[in-house]
């Protein structure tokens, strides 16, 4: 039987981190195949509901990535998002989500190398903490 494989949802802003993912491809950098990318216009678009919903639907980890501060295509989206993320992450952890499950990064469209580093790190940490235990819609029978 195959090892357990984590399911990780990545919300990437269209202009930077999604571009980095594309560039990682152009550069043929290899990385673990467990992320599923959802393209959003900007990290400012990220509604905290998306993260809760991702966990509800069985994501073992969530990763959100956008442009570096000052480089947001929409000038300020990531600055607002940064505050939202800080509180989101803190409250999720406070309620029992392991810190290993929720990640944020700034990766520019030129930083294919950083993109791969972050995917690998995210995958590793999610793998280490194992399948999501709670906050999903249908909890496993054994608890």
């Amino acid at each position: 039987m195959k090892d357990w494989e984590p399911k990780i949802v990545a919300f990437l802003c269209n202009w930077c981190s999604y571009g980095a993912a594309d560039l990682a491809g152009v550069s043929r950098f290899q990385y673990p195949p467990y992320i599923r990318v959802i393209r959003i216009p900007c990290t400012g678009r990220l509604n905290p509901k998306f993260v809760l919903a991702a966990f509800r639907h069985g994501a073992d980890g969530v990763w959100i990535s956008g442009c570096h501060p000052g480089d947001c295509h929409y000038l300020e989206g990531n600055y607002y998002a940064r505050r939202r993320f800080a509180l989101l992450k803190s409250l999720l952890e406070y309620m029992g989500i392991e810190p290993e499950r929720i990640h944020f990064s700034w990766v520019s469209s030129a930083e294919a190398g950083k993109f791969v580093e972050v995917v690998s790190e995210v995958t590793e940490t999610v793998k280490k903490v194992g399948p999501l235990k709670y906050f999903m819609k249908k909890r496993p029978e054994v608890e």
């Binding site: 809760l52 509800r56 600055y79 509180l87 989101l88 406070y94 309620m95 029992g96 709670y134 906050f135």
Partner: protein, 316 residues
């Protein structure tokens, strides 16, 4: 705090007689002990019904949004901070209000007193500056008020109104060091599994009656996220994930706006301490952004703004 009553009435009478306001929003004595009710005095003849003591915990800001008339409101520290929120968030206009400021000494915890005398009927609860006097059914007990304060009041650091047109008395002294976050820190110390179990135990009695939401002055959306149908993504059941998701988002919506007035906990029929979530956010926001809710008319809540050099230690 009963000594404020004559002054409240005097101000109210003057305002109504001079037609400076259309109504005065305050409290009247409740029919059940420790249950004073919000009351709207519309004419001078109503004024003598206005009342004040340590059982006026309900946050009157909750009665102000989308009002058209000119209104005077009797407001303690936390109420005024919620009024500030309301003004900043466009729910009421400053010039529509006449704020009668109460230097608050804290509200008493009805639930605690009921528990102390469980099974015995309480007929009357009176108070003086230091004590609460409980009478009834052969009872007459005097308890120091500090022992029966609502938990949020016992750690309150803004007893005095932050915004007012007239005060009923001199400000009370604010405590100089209170640790508002003992309980939060203890939870932060736990490991994730323990935290989850802890909150699961806390929230599992929730019956999703939404009394907490309804009593909160911050919750004024025409349609609450829990009632959204397109997409209907958060279940309405009392399955623990649904309940915790509800509480997570309710708290998140109050981030940077909650004044810890305690309305939610007071309203909950099953006694859920959901302030553990709002206070956690309050603590984070204070530490990260140096911001306290409802203190200034010139600032928007912290999620509506940013600084280029905000902390980002959690970002790779």
């Amino acid at each position: 705090m009963k000594e404020y009553i004559p002054k409240i009435r005097e101000i109210a009478r003057k305002l109504l007689e001079e037609e400076k306001v259309d109504a005065v929003l305050g409290f009247r004595k409740g029919t059940i002990p420790m249950m004073n009710e919000p009351f709207m005095a519309r004419s001078a003849s109503d004024v003598d019904l206005l009342y004040w003591d340590s059982n006026c915990g309900i946050n009157l800001a909750n009665y102000l949004h989308k009002r058209k008339e000119k209104i005077a409101v009797v407001a303690k520290g936390c109420d005024t901070r919620n009024i500030v929120n309301h003004i900043v968030e466009n729910q009421v206009k400053r010039d529509q209000l006449y704020i009668i400021g109460i230097p608050c000494r804290g509200m008493i915890d009805r639930r605690q007193i009921l528990a102390m005398f469980e099974g015995r009927e309480i007929e009357e609860v009176d108070e003086d500056a230091e004590n609460v006097i409980i009478k009834g059914d052969g009872l007459s007990e005097t308890i120091p008020r500090v022992e029966v304060l609502q938990e949020n009041c016992s750690i309150c650091i803004h007893h005095n109104p932050v915004i007012y047109d007239e005060m009923v008395d001199e400000p009370v002294e604010e405590p100089d060091h209170v640790d508002r976050y003992d309980d939060i820190k203890a939870i932060e110390e736990m490991d994730p599994e323990e935290r989850y179990q802890y909150f699961r135990d806390i929230f599992s009695p929730c019956i999703r009656c939404y009394a907490c939401r309804n009593s909160c002055p911050l919750c004024y959306c025409p349609t609450c996220f829990v009632d959204e149908s397109r997409p209907q993504w958060v279940g309405k059941s009392i399955d623990i994930t649904d309940v915790m998701t509800f509480h997570f988002l309710r708290a998140f919506h109050c981030a940077g706006r909650c004044t810890d007035c305690g309305s939610c906990e007071r309203a909950c029929p099953v006694g859920i301490p959901m302030r553990l979530l709002t206070k956690k956010l309050e603590k984070d926001i204070r530490e990260l952004y140096g911001y306290e809710a409802g203190m200034s008319l010139d600032e928007r809540p912290p999620l509506d703004t940013y600084r280029p050099d905000d902390p980002e230690f959690f970002i790779k």
